[in-house]
């Protein structure tokens, strides 16, 4: 296993403690886990930082003896609630890994409809079990959140290193716009592209605007944001309420605001 395979890190000749980590997935695309395998350049460094003892996507075997559990995906079925509670009982630190786990992710878009309609639309009369998509925190206590759809590997490594050496984890409080401006991008509003950069929590290094694609808010709200102001700015740039709504509700991080906006839209419709 990883413990025997990867050489441990030394600091002044003293071996640094490598926490035993496990990865689990509930309803998800497994992309957040793959992000770890997908960074070939630093994968081996990462493996020297931790001891991976459970990672079904990448290895056979696996054990319940772990300290940090990374749980990806949202909860959409009763057996997932049971699995999650068991993981909570085993883990010292439970990490909600990615936006599905933190907010429900794209999966929670189905919560706009009744479960019966959703089932009928996809499976007809064939019976399937499903419940509204929920974040982990609706069922168990979460120690740590890693935002993003997908998560950013650099951030994951920083956080894991932090846990290993016991430093506090600080998320950026400011929005994506700050990173975007620091990166010298042209503002997408000026070229007619909607963007949730003004209200979304930074930490992704303005991943999408760097590629001239507007932000969809995958990391959820930053601290102290002003949604109304952003909506009125987007309004002035000619973006429809529909467009703003689609972005706000995409990953579930802005669920509270999106709900309000939808109500006001419906009220206008009735108006």
């Amino acid at each position: 296993m990883a413990g025997a395979a990867a050489e441990g890190k030394n600091f002044l000749g003293v071996p640094v403690y490598r926490p035993r980590v496990a990865f689990f997935e509930l309803s998800s695309c497994e992309g957040c886990q793959l992000q770890l395998l997908n960074n070939e350049a630093t994968l081996l460094d990462f493996l020297s930082l931790v001891e991976v003892v459970n990672f079904r996507e990448g290895m056979s075997g696996g054990t319940d003896d772990y300290e940090i559990a990374f749980v990806e995906g949202s909860v959409t079925r009763s057996d997932e609630v049971e699995r999650l509670k068991k993981i909570r009982a085993n883990a010292k630190v439970l990490v909600a890994f990615g936006s599905c786990a933190c907010f429900g992710g794209v999966n929670q878009l189905k919560n706009r409809f009744s479960p019966d309609w959703v089932k009928k639309e996809v499976y007809g009369d064939h019976p399937v079990e499903t419940s509204p998509a929920r974040p982990l925190e609706d069922f168990v206590t979460i120690d740590l959140r890693i935002f993003g759809c997908p998560v950013k590997k650099e951030e994951v490594e920083k956080i894991v290193a932090g846990i290993a050496i016991g430093t506090a984890i600080a998320y950026p409080k400011y929005p994506v716009c700050m990173e975007c401006k620091a990166n010298g991008n042209i503002c997408l509003f000026d070229v007619g592209e909607p963007c949730l950069g003004p209200v979304t929590r930074a930490g992704c290094d303005s991943w999408c605007p760097n590629n001239r694609a507007g932000c969809w808010g995958c990391r959820g709200p930053a601290d102290d944001i002003n949604i109304e102001q952003m909506i009125s700015i987007m309004d002035k740039h000619g973006f429809t309420k529909d467009t703003i709504m689609d972005r706000l509700e995409c990953f579930g991080g802005f669920a509270a605001y999106a709900g309000q906006l939808r109500e006001s839209l419906n009220a206008e419709d009735r108006g």
Binding site: M1, C29, L34, N38, L43, E57, V106, N107, D246
Partner: protein, 424 residues
């Protein structure tokens, strides 16, 4: 000797998603051989209803972390077909290059990290880091190259950012592209070493006559759009994909199953090689023939070799694509999009086989109906029938539990199933 044998694999490892294998043999009689899919559905086809067209590629890409580029491109093609948008030559080339690099990174991930440990007697790639460091380094190197090119062309290796209906938000840097061309040329040696490694592996000797479905090549080895073909002689248009997939529900699976001329069919690298061998790059054809893979091959374990053959093809083809891109001036990256009512279908060959997206739109471009048919869901029935045939064979020949378990696991892994994707 009458044998008894029980295999019970819960949540098979080294595959994407959740599936179980159950085999029971009593007194040399096969009692049960089942491939169960227990993945939770996420209902993408329902959650897209009411969303505007620009949401489709962004959201459906999240069906799968491994083939997010393939989903994004199938989705874009479906929207463009519905709105009557023809991609420019430049956009087509960039999309194919991106597609090739997803194929390369996914095949390398499967061949080295998911399949090879079985052949090297390891539970995962982790022990190989010490025992076979050069092998792991080579795999990491190839994957990194493919992923770096995906970053450069698509903006991000997973859940790409630059790929949009109408083209790209931004074009790659030509100097970077030239660098990648050179790295691709240098990687041919890595692929040769990979081929040598796999030539030392013992591919299980097992065949079952199968119908193979893929896009139909017309001059090129096909990846994005075109007619649909099967080895049993079925030929359909892209828009008629439902006549190719014929989905139905079964008890043992939360994924739907498919059938065509027989009780099941297969899609994926082996299906593509079987249907389009003559369109492969000559060097890929040569490697394929050398490894004993010529059409039509009915051994499902040979899908591993077919993936290797495709790695060679996509690398060599990508070098050519980059040359062509470097040889012409950049054009506008993105065409304007005007929504209209109608239906559009996009068929794309993703690493695990042919993928279909189909959407109905109202006049304002809101989705009223959505259908996504995933390669692995098309393969589930075939995996089941292979498993039954494999277990029957050994029920009469005799085998130990552990060996049958390994062969059954390797069989399922050969399909490189993407189970969460198949349920979506």
């Amino acid at each position: 000797m009458k044998i008894n044998c029980d295999v019970n694999v819960h949540h098979l490892s080294r595959v994407e998603g959740h599936g179980n294998i159950k085999i029971s043999i009593k007194d040399g009689q096969l009692r049960q051989a089942t491939w169960e899919v227990v993945e939770t559905p996420r209902f993408f086809e329902a959650l897209l209803v009411g969303k505007k067209w620009d949401n489709a590629p962004w959201i459906t890409g999240r069906i799968c972390g491994i083939c997010s580029i393939g989903h994004t491109l199938a989705s874009i093609r479906a929207v463009e077909n519905a709105f009557g948008i023809l991609p420019t030559d430049q956009t087509k080339k960039l999309r194919l290059l991106l597609k090739h690099m997803e194929t390369l990174q996914s095949h390398v991930l499967h061949l080295y990290f998911l399949a090879a440990p079985d052949f090297l007697n390891a539970g995962s790639v982790f022990p190989l880091i010490r025992s076979n460091p050069d092998v792991v380094a080579r795999a990491a190197h190839l994957k990194k190259l493919a992923n770096d090119i995906c970053d450069c062309v698509g903006g991000r290796r997973m859940h790409p950012t630059r790929t949009v209906v109408g083209g790209f938000t931004m074009l790659p840097d030509k100097k970077e592209l030239a660098g990648f061309r050179d790295r691709l040329s240098a990687s041919v040696a890595d692929l040769q070493a990979t081929a040598e490694l796999f030539s030392t592996f013992h591919i299980p000797d097992f065949s079952r006559e199968t119908e193979f479905v893929s896009l139909k090549g017309a001059g090129d080895y096909p990846f994005i759009g075109g007619d649909l073909v099967s080895t049993d002689g079925v030929l359909k248009k892209e828009s008629e994909y439902r006549q190719m997939t014929n989905e139905y529900m079964v008890e043992q699976s939360t994924s739907k199953w498919s059938r065509l001329s027989r009780q099941s069919f297969a899609v994926g690298a082996l299906a593509r090689v079987n249907n389009n061998f003559s369109f492969l790059h000559p060097a890929a054809q040569e490697l394929s023939a050398g490894a004993g893979l010529t059409p039509v091959n009915h051994n499902p374990y040979m899908n591993n070799i077919a993936q290797l053959v495709e790695c060679v093809h996509v690398v060599l083809d990508s070098i050519g694509l980059i040359e062509e891109l470097l040889g012409s001036e950049w054009q506008e990256p993105r065409q304007p999009v005007t929504a209209r009512a109608g239906t559009g279908v996009g068929a794309v060959e993703v690493p695990r086989g042919i993928l279909y997206h189909s959407y109905d739109f109202d006049e304002a471009g809101h989705i009223t109906k959505c259908d996504c048919i995933i390669p692995t869901s098309q393969n589930h029935a075939n995996i089941q029938h292979d498993l039954t045939a494999l277990a029957s064979k050994f029920a009469s020949e005799g085998i130990q539990d552990r060996n049958l378990e390994l062969l059954a696991e390797m069989l399922v892994r050969s399909y490189d199933p993407c189970i969460s994707c198949s349920v979506h």
